[in-house]
Symmetry: C2
Subunit: 224 residues, 2 copies
DNA sequence: TCTAACATACAGACAAGTATGTATGTTAAT
DNA sequence: ATTAACATACATACTTGTCTGTATGTTAGA
């Protein structure tokens, strides 16, 4: 135990202070948006003072960029990119991921942190935009790669463009997220998930072209 | 010409002043978001003074509500609800509407005014939320009604839920709009429209169940 | 028709609060 | 003992909204 990571809960633990500031800032930004997020609110939530915050972050913008790169990027990695590498059929993996998206009332109300920041800041701040776009691209690329894998395995239709299908999926997830957020109603989200899942099923290759036989509960492409 | 509506372009024209304020406020809110929209910016854009603005609107919130009810609601009426009543096959009508959504660079950059306000204000201000929800509901209801008409005419698949399909369409439109806004790239939007149109085509009833014969350019449901 | 009385539609300075960021002092750790 | 890691007080800018004043329009009465 060479590093003093938590050997006694020291008075000064700059790494921890920084992390607590980041987490509190993320929550505040998630609730109020970046521009309306108050520095004082973050300080009150952490019992950290302004001097300490501005010691760790040069400005409010720098704090915002850190939220994107360290917290939101991690959410996408943990919620999507890593699960995308699971074992199993690509479509099943995607359905599992989509179904596991958090849907507690507070998540619905506040909306997707990534989309919220993108909506608010992308037209106003190119630095924000670039960082957010990187995350969107990694998300899309991850899904597209899995779909390509499914195509080469024969479980995903070959007549679809993996990049566009990935983008389609992301647009739907974020679109339904927005509708549910505005309705402030988790049911809107649940219905959305059902329809996204149905669409994902429609991406399966028809039975005869598959290698492993699989019972065809494949519903029609439209909607139930 | 009993009313003095425009008999000489008077110095005082309260109706026009109010309308100019509304339009300028809409543009400023569209660009900057509601909370970051500056009253002074609106005043500078219109050469109207603060006293005049607060004569016509009780508060900044009241101005925001008026933007929703008078401007954004009208955009949805003109861009969707009225066109939905056109002659022709429902799916064709929807495709036409979707294709006619403005896609100039400035529209892409700023994003959909309805979604922007909903994203920003719905979790924070119930009065905003309710007004915006009314618009979303009228939008969804209009699309659903047209789909039902198509079902009874036999041009739209009967195994779909019109309300959910309408919601699906709206989620896609707004989702792609968000992605394009974040990418600041009209191409993202164009690709989105292509995919939305393909999905809309997949809602057509199969040929044999239709009344009027129509050449079947119906592509597969997935993606090109 | 002329005018007194009043209402409407503004103008512009100012108040009050809130925001971020800085300057400087203090304490803990190496 | 030096410096990193804070604490505190304050400067500065910007926000919405109010307040008083004024010019114009409208109406009622003689």
């Amino acid at each position: 135990m060479l590093d003093g990571h938590k050997r006694k809960r020291r008075f000064r633990d700059p790494g921890r202070t920084r992390e607590r500031l980041l987490q509190a800032a993320f929550r505040e930004v998630h609730r109020s948006g970046f521009r309306s997020a108050g520095i004082d609110t973050i300080l009150a939530a952490t019992n950290v003072t302004k001097g300490a915050l501005y010691y760790h972050f040069d400005s409010k913008e720098a704090l915002g960029y850190a939220i994107v790169e360290e917290i939101i990027a991690k959410l996408v990695r943990d919620g999507w990119l890593r699960p995308l590498l699971s074992d199993g059929q690509p479509i099943d993996i995607l359905i599992g991921i989509v179904r596991r998206i958090p849907a507690r009332p507070e998540d619905i109300r506040a909306g997707c942190p990534l989309l919220n920041l993108a909506q608010e800041m992308s037209p106003l701040d190119e630095q924000f935009r670039k960082r957010l776009e990187r995350i969107f691209l990694s998300w899309q690329e991850g899904v597209a790669t899995l779909l390509r894998k499914g195509q080469s395995q024969g479980t995903v239709r070959r007549n679809l463009n993996p990049d566009e299908a990935a983008s389609f999926l992301i647009a739907m997830v974020e679109g339904y997220g927005s509708l549910a957020k505005n309705a402030q109603d988790a049911k809107v989200w649940e219905v959305g998930i059902r329809n996204i899942v149905e669409w994902l099923r429609s991406l399966r290759a028809p039975r005869q072209s598959r290698r492993g036989g699989r019972r065809a509960t494949n519903r029609v492409q439209g909607k139930g």
